[in-house]
Amino acid sequence: MKKSTLVLIIITATMLVTSGVGTWWVMRKNDNAKIAKVYQNDTLLYEIDLSKVEKPYTIEIKGENEKLNTIEVRNGEIGVVSASCPDKLCVNMGFAGDSYLPIICLPNDIMIVVETEGDEFDAKT
């Protein structure tokens, strides 16, 4: 095996391990889930304190062309339960509060971010 090939294999393996650790880091359970912010087309629609939710309830978000997403809010969790888009990725992503990844629906331009208390990271850049 050529030396250059070996170097590239090592680089690839390093990238795999680094991104693997990073993936674990963002997918780990977010126990401090606190404030959920629901955005549509860059506008903040709802800001929900998840720790104060006693009974689960749903919110419907309508978009243009009869786009519809139903969001369910529970204590400590928020997620999309139904969507009018064909791929249903936002539904399959489950409930935020399970991880640090924001839930996004690309076709309907909806984003749900769960912020933890003491989180300095600024949502709007």
């Binding site: 990238m15 991104s19 990073g22 993936t23 963002v26 990725l89 924001p102 996004i104």
Partner: protein, 169 residues
């Protein structure tokens, strides 16, 4: 690595049309394969095999033309409109990354160009997502996408390398 030589313009046109047809078929079939992870943007990226193969065996501008047409026609046939921007940005960045790497390595280690292409495709996607959502939070997705890309990129890269190793008469 030797580029393909064409006896006539017609032969070249046919080859390019064949490449475009193949990449569209791969793109369409791939869209039907369910991905086991529910993360927006994760896919196998098999049609990158054609782009990479063309970068090795064809002129760069021909490879770029086929890529551009594949992205446009692909979004018309299978994609939803919103994915077009992600595809075009990812495709363009991946193309540049792969072309630069192949020029530097003189077409050695083609498989690594597949990895680079996949990762730079994610860079393009994430930049578009940050612009559309106007939020840096979607940047979290990059690590997850990059992890999947290293794995799928090795497969597409190796496939393109093996395909390029055959002599075409």
């Amino acid at each position: 690595m030797q580029k393909l030589e064409f006896k006539s313009k017609t032969q070249k046109l046919c080859s390019l049309a064949l490449m475009l047809a193949m990449s569209l078929i791969i793109f369409t079939v791939e869209a039907q394969i369910p991905v086991p992870v529910a993360i927006p943007g994760v896919k196998l990226g098999l049609s990158n095999v054609i782009t990479l193969f063309m970068l090795v065996k064809f002129e760069k501008k021909d490879a770029a033309a086929v890529l551009l047409l594949r992205v446009i026609l692909g979004s018309i046939f299978v994609g939803q409109g919103v994915y077009f921007l992600y595809s075009i940005a990812g495709g363009a960045l991946a193309f540049v990354a792969m072309a630069v790497f192949l020029a530097l390595s003189k077409c050695q280690n083609i498989w690594f160009a597949g990895v680079l292409g996949a990762i730079f495709h994610n860079v393009g996607q994430i930049l578009v997502a940050i612009a559309i959502f106007e939020s840096a939070y979607v940047g979290y997705y990059f690590v997850v996408l990059a992890f999947c890309s290293v794995i799928t990129g090795v497969f597409t890269g190796v496939t393109a390398q093996v395909a390029s190793s055959y002599r075409v008469k």
